[in-house]
């Protein structure tokens, strides 16, 4: 089965459309959305409806910290920009959409594959996997051989051998690689809706669960329009700028 893994959509319609079209062209058979469907971007309602539509067709979807944020009264732990967007986003959503978010799971385990938004050791605490130490901690916290997670808006591939050594790799777009069964893997496809590695192109990954072939992709999309919409919605200008610069 060819699984498309998309994470950190962040209400970016243009980026999500581009990634979904890209995945469909490559005959993706199943979809997983690893949370942070909303927040930052100007199209939360459209993005949620689209994800709900995919769930109706069997897609997996997880809770992210920004999704949870709109359900909570005041998120003092969030930075000012994120809080401003959460407030705005809450006003954009209908009750059905909020109810959908309320019921999202924190993690899903498929056959030997763990899907989680932030990390495997304490998914609800939203700590980042942003180095080999954290990646090792996460891989050791699950029985699954392959973990897909988001939260960090940069594409990365971590791997851990039998000896427990963890390696980090910055993936190259559009090159498939087979994931050896002799080690653990932690895959961060990178963000669909708000990449932060200096490259504004949207990120997602395709994984063939039978052949164990993984491909990362960078998908160029109309970031100017997405950025313009952020400004028009009255959201912080820095968030609009971020889409153009990719970080």
């Amino acid at each position: 089965m060819l699984l498309a893994v998309l994470t950190d959509l962040h209400a970016n319609r243009e980026a999500l459309e581009a990634c979904l079209a890209h995945a469909q062209e490559r005959q993706a058979e199943q979809y997983a959305f690893l949370g942070d469907l909303i927040g930052y971007g100007a199209d939360p309602s459209w993005v949620l409806d689209t994800v709900i539509n995919y769930v109706g067709r069997g897609a997996y979807v997880l809770m992210g910290n920004h999704d949870l944020g709109v359900l909570q009264a005041d998120r003092k732990d969030m930075n000012a920009n994120a809080r401003a967007v959460v407030e705005w986003t809450r006003g954009q959503l209908n009750d059905y959409q909020k109810e959908f978010i309320r019921n999202l799971p924190m993690q899903i385990e498929l056959d030997n594959v763990l899907l989680v938004h932030a990390n495997a050791w304490a998914p609800e605490k939203w700590e980042y996997v942003d180095g080999v130490m954290e990646a090792g901690r996460s891989m050791n916290a699950t029985q699954a051989q392959i973990t897909f997670c988001g939260h960090v808006h940069r594409p990365s591939l971590y791997h851990m051998s039998h000896a427990g050594k963890v390696g980090e790799f910055t993936p190259v777009s559009d090159l498939s690689m087979s994931l050896s069964k002799l080690r653990r893997w932690l895959v961060q496809p990178g963000s669909v809706g708000q990449p932060r590695d200096g490259n504004p192109a949207a990120c997602y990954a395709l994984y063939d669960t039978v052949q164990r072939e993984l491909s990362f992709f960078r998908v160029p999309y109309d970031a100017e329009t997405a950025s313009q919409k952020v400004l028009e919605a009255g959201l912080p200008a820095v968030l609009a700028q971020r889409l153009i610069q990719g970080g």
């Binding site: 051998s161 039998h162 427990g164 050594k165 190259v172 050896s180 002799l182």
Partner: protein
């Protein structure tokens, strides 16, 4: 753990071990992954069927893997012409599970081989599941490895050069596919019936665009004692010119019958090559021409940037030794004096690993650009335009090497002595003209070569030359379209249609 050369002349299956007694630093941190060790595979025997492949004959047993000749009972790789490929199965010896290198090397090979294409690598057909029986199925390359020729060294110079040209072409092809072999040695080189070199065993290799599982796992040098490059000794695994060093060792051995750096097995023994220069090949074998010594010693330079920029440029020089600018290396006799060795040793003691390069960057910065010229007085405007374009190319790619080529038309019929003499004069005249054309480009001598090709079919000669010398780009002029040219077809059009590389056509401006 041993790092001996495999004894068998057959296609070697052995993974080279890291050069260390205890390569796998057992982490104190107990990993969950370690609970998933693959179950012990069955003992393989002739006649046994594994995943639809029948084991026919054990071809080779190495330290880390066994090689079996197999028959695919399901005939899954039948070609469109109905032929079934000759196959072998490489099976890692998983009882060496305590030796992490064997496993990681197998993972590396399984990751890299499916990415490789072309005649210089064994074709990859498939891999077996690690849960049941891990294996890789690949093309069976007939014949014996270059290892078999080593016992007869020193070999005639022509044979040494021919091996060098063919292996350099294979390396260039591999590097172009983003892979550095990192364990080039005689037992890992085979030859197809047509003569093309095939590089086997990718257990220590590095793919520029895939995770380096070995580099992450082991901090100690990995390679084979006699052949490992100095930067590999320091743990650098992304320098394509490391393969050039190994090829230099191999050519040295074939030409002299001696190993330039012996056969060290300890890390300190390996580090010696960072400061101790080898005995010049001609001291061993005076029959070796100075230009070959120049080429071999240049491959063996400690600093990768002092070697040839690319394997293609090395191949070009082996094919055109008269174009090589000789340095002190060519005439060197005896090893360097104690003082300079001590200086280098002092320097080597504190040496940091060399700056890291991306392989694709390096290859793209050192292209071979071929300019095909037709020099005659009637088209100086066109050759001026070609020179202008060439200058622009050289400005953007200062590492480029320029090969200036012109064609001297010959008839197909044999020539008598007098005409040959005249031809010789003609040849020199054209060479002089070529050099004159290039003079104002001010390319340094070691970055430019000149060739007068004698051929009946100019386009075919240009295409052949580009192919044989791994040319990256051809610049050629087009003299516009006369009726006759349309009828006969122009040289440039044929080159554009048939060359394997990029072709830039400079057109004569129409009035």
């Amino acid at each position: 753990m041993s790092n001996n050369l495999p004894k068998s002349p057959n296609q070697s299956a052995s993974f080279t071990a890291p050069i260390s007694e205890q390569a796998g630093n057992k982490s104190s941190e107990q990993s969950a992954a370690s609970s998933e060790k693959p179950s012990s595979p069955r003992r393989l025997q002739v006649g046994m069927v594994v995943d639809g492949y029948r084991l026919e004959e054990k071809l080779h047993m190495g330290g880390m893997a066994a090689l079996w000749r197999i028959t695919d009972l399901q005939e899954r790789y039948r070609s469109p012409e109905g032929e079934l490929p000759a196959l072998i199965m490489k099976v890692p010896l998983m009882f060496s599970i305590e030796d992490p290198t064997a496993i990681v090397a197998f993972e590396v090979e399984q990751m890299i081989m499916p990415k490789l294409k072309g005649k210089h690598v064994p074709r990859y057909y498939g891999a077996g599941d690690f849960d049941a029986q891990p294996f890789i199925v690949m093309e069976h390359i007939e014949g014996v490895s270059l290892r078999a020729r080593f016992d007869d060294s020193p070999l005639p110079v022509e044979e040494v050069v021919s091996v060098g040209i063919r292996v350099a072409a294979a390396l260039q092809d591999l590097h172009r596919q983003h892979v550095i072999h990192l364990d080039l040695k005689p037992s890992n080189i085979m030859f197809r019936a047509g003569g093309a070199a095939v590089l086997i065993d990718y257990g220590l290799s590095r793919h520029d665009k895939l995770p380096d599982l070995l580099g992450e796992e082991f901090r100690l040098p990995m390679g084979t004692g006699p052949y490992i490059a100095p930067e590999q000794v320091l743990g650098i695994r992304n320098e394509p010119r490391s393969d050039q060093f190994s090829l230099g060792v191999l050519l040295y051995h074939l030409a002299t019958g001696e190993r330039p750096f012996g056969h060290p097995t300890s890390v300190s023994g390996l580090k010696k090559r960072l400061y101790r220069d080898p005995i010049p090949p001609r001291d061993h074998n005076p029959a070796i021409p100075d230009w070959l010594q120049e080429i071999i010693l240049r491959c063996l330079e400690v600093d990768p940037s002092a070697r040839f920029d690319t394997a293609a440029q090395l191949g070009l020089m082996l094919q055109n030794p008269d174009q090589l600018s000789l340095t002190a290396r060519a005439e060197k006799s005896g090893k360097d004096g104690l003082l300079s060795v001590l200086k280098r040793r002092f320097h080597a003691a504190g040496v940091e690993p060399f700056a890291k390069y991306s392989m694709s960057d390096q290859l793209s910065q050192s292209p071979i650009i071929m300019v095909a010229l037709h020099l005659s007085e009637s088209n100086t405007e066109l050759t001026d335009d070609i020179r202008m374009l060439t200058r622009r190319m050289l400005q953007t790619e200062p590492g480029a090497r320029l090969a200036c080529v012109t064609i001297r038309k010959t008839s197909r019929i044999g020539l008598d002595e007098g005409i040959v003499q005249g031809g010789q004069n003609m040849h020199v005249k054209q060479l002089v003209e070529l050099k004159h054309w290039a003079r104002s480009l001010q390319v340094s001598k070691d970055k430019i070569t000149f060739h007068v090709l004698e051929a009946h079919d100019a386009a075919a000669a240009i295409i052949d030359y580009a192919h044989n010398n791994n040319v990256d780009q051809i610049i050629i002029g087009s003299r516009g379209s006369s009726t006759l040219r349309r009828y006969l077809g122009s040289v440039s059009a044929q080159v554009v249609a048939e060359a394997e590389c990029t072709v830039t056509v400079v057109k004569q401006r129409r009035e």
